[in-house]
């Protein structure tokens, strides 16, 4: 009984007394302890979690009505503010930060009876595609300990793959849920921009950041989205739900009438041959299930990465300006005047990649360069949105690989920022356009998982989940 059962089955078992929440939490910690060498969690809360689990079990034996995640352990990326422990964002800057409040998404899960058991490693401030930019440690790939788990939500994805919890939460600014899900063989769901509250999630690039689940099945992702999705008065950017429910029950029986667009800008002769075979194999199964397969070109998609690496650092430089060592965060007690205090606190508290992004962001926003870089990037972003809208007039979904590569070796790209940025080439467009996207595993190459990415129109999250559930079933 290594693998976790589907969440709805687990909850039924807990509620019926067939199993206990305590035994689920104990199981989670047995995997956490067994897999320390993978550097997955920054903190964990065993005694607190067991106490909460006991409370759940007592309530159940007393016949009390409990929520939809009663007694289920879960893990969140350490950029979600939580009452328990520290919230570090994987950075020395926030190494000892105790959050004064808790993220809305975390609150909603806890309100349904879920039990927070730990916080997962990430690239510091979520800047990266491998967790190698964490100021603390590199998370290792569950399928090959010499390789990266992907990033920035690498800890969240590795945790689920290593059975440390049946699900986790991550954040996705340019692929940070989907890439690690692809590298660790999980489902990683990036909702439409604004569908899940970001209140209490440490901001990276605010026009791109979304919160989403990493799970073992698409149905589990639907259940979690059903719980965390929707408007929140603490986050003015949240949107109305596109569906009253995101829970799934095999709605789609076949793909007759479903139009699937293959993004030929990604699926072409340049794509790694083995990855291409897995992707084309999945596409041919979609065709034999009744889907109409159409080739789609997004003319500006080759500019999505340059746009991203202007818009993202610009917003990063703004969001990270709040770290001045005064109210919280790393502070340099040796400075004797305020200016040096700011300078030294920031320079010692931020790691390399954060500094790089602050500098690039400051450059593209500075006078003389603003029009050539930032404004131009925003204009090309509009073009991309228009081109995706046109594509979605022809097809219901767009598909391709999640990542251009299999999980790479630790250290392989960490000395070359541009090579690392190229890891995001297939994922950033969904963030720039705001549309929902999911990565799901479609087999292995040399014992390493391959992720299949599906994108859908803005606010078509429910449709995307229904389709993904079908794809999961035929793979």
């Amino acid at each position: 009984m290594d693998n976790w059962l589907d969440l709805d089955v687990l909850v039924k078992k807990v509620k019926s007394g067939e199993t206990t929440s305590v035994s689920l939490v104990e199981k989670a910690f047995s995997f956490i302890k067994k897999n320390k060498e993978y550097n997955v969690l920054i903190s964990d809360f065993e005694s607190d979690a067991l106490a909460k689990a006991k409370e759940v079990d007592i309530k159940i034996s007393n016949g009390e009505k409990l929520g939809r995640l009663a007694g289920i352990p879960f893990i969140v990326k350490d950029n979600f503010l939580t009452h328990l422990g520290f919230t570090t964002a994987g950075s020395n800057m926030l190494k000892n930060f105790q959050a004064p409040y808790q993220a809305t998404a975390v609150n909603k899960l806890i309100d349904e009876g879920a039990i927070l058991i730990g916080k997962a490693n990430l690239d510091a401030f979520a800047h990266g595609a491998s967790t190698e930019n964490s100021d603390f440690m590199v998370t290792k790939n569950p399928f090959d300990i010499n390789r990266v788990a992907g990033g920035s939500s690498g800890g969240s994805a590795a945790a689920v793959a290593l059975n440390m919890a049946p699900f986790s939460l991550g954040s996705d600014t340019g692929g940070s849920i989907r890439t690690p899900a692809s590298f660790c063989g999980n489902i990683g769901f990036k909702p439409s921009y604004g569908l899940v509250s970001r209140s209490g999630v440490i901001a990276m690039a605010s026009s791109l950041d979304v919160v989403g689940p990493i799970t073992k099945t698409v149905a589990d992702a639907g259940l979690i989205l059903d719980i965390i999705g929707g408007q929140d008065q603490l986050d003015g950017t949240t949107i109305k739900r596109d569906s009253s429910s995101y829970t799934l029950n095999g709605n789609l029986k076949n793909l007759n009438g479903v139009r699937v667009g293959v993004v030929t800008d990604f699926v072409n002769e340049d794509l790694d041959q083995k990855i291409k075979e897995r992707i084309l194999d999945t596409i041919s199964k979609l065709r034999s299930s009744g889907a109409e397969i159409v080739d789609i070109t997004i003319p500006s998609i080759d500019l999505s990465l340059p746009v991203y690496y202007i818009v993202c650092p610009a917003e990063v430089s703004s969001n990270l300006s709040r770290y001045d060592g005064v109210k919280y965060g790393y502070n340099d007690s040796t400075s004797t005047n305020l200016e040096n205090y700011y300078l030294n606190s920031r320079s010692k508290g931020f790691g390399k990649e954060a500094k790089r992004r602050i500098m690039i962001g400051t450059y593209v926003l500075s006078s003389g360069y603003y029009d050539a870089y930032y404004k131009k990037a925003q204009q090309v972003r509009t073009k991309l949105i228009n081109e995706f809208n046109e594509a979605f007039e022809k097809v219901d979904f767009l598909v391709g690989p999640t990542s251009p590569t299999l999980p790479f070796k630790i250290g392989e790209k960490s000395d070359d920022p541009v090579q690392m940025y190229l890891s995001d080439v297939m994922t950033v467009a969904a963030n720039l356009v705001g549309i929902p996207a999911v990565s799901l595993p479609v087999g292995f190459i040399d014992n390493l998982p391959v992720g299949f990415q599906i994108m859908a129109p803005f606010k078509a999250d429910k449709k995307l989940l229904d389709f993904a559930e079908f794809v999961e079933g035929i793979k």
Binding site: L303, P306, L338, S347, T362, A372, V433
Partner: protein, 100 residues
């Protein structure tokens, strides 16, 4: 676009960014930032005539909450516990001006 940043460009950017860099970091940043700018300069080819910039994708405008006091569930002490240097309910910082 030529994207070779000089060391004085880097120092100016660091100043704007409220960062101090070591000599090694300046050299490293010069190389890496120039590479990154080369990479994004592909954008100069794009034709964006008459295209409006996108700031955000939701089309929401001026979202207001109801004008009621919300209990956020935390108080002054929850906020002050992270303050590195405090004097009762005040936050202390080093002096702004150098002593002459």
């Amino acid at each position: 676009m030529s994207n070779n940043l000089s060391s004085s460009d880097i120092l100016k950017l660091a100043k704007l960014s409220k960062l101090v860099l070591s000599d090694e970091e300046v050299i490293e940043m010069q190389k890496e930032l120039s590479q990154i700018l080369d990479f994004v300069s592909k954008l100069s080819e794009a034709d964006v005539k008459d295209i409006k910039p996108t700031d955000q994708v939701t089309n929401l405008t001026t979202v207001l909450r109801s004008d009621k006091n919300i209990d956020y569930g935390y108080g002054l002490e929850d906020l002050m516990k992270n303050v590195p240097n405090r004097d009762n309910d005040f936050i202390k910082v080093p002096r702004m001006l150098q002593e002459s």
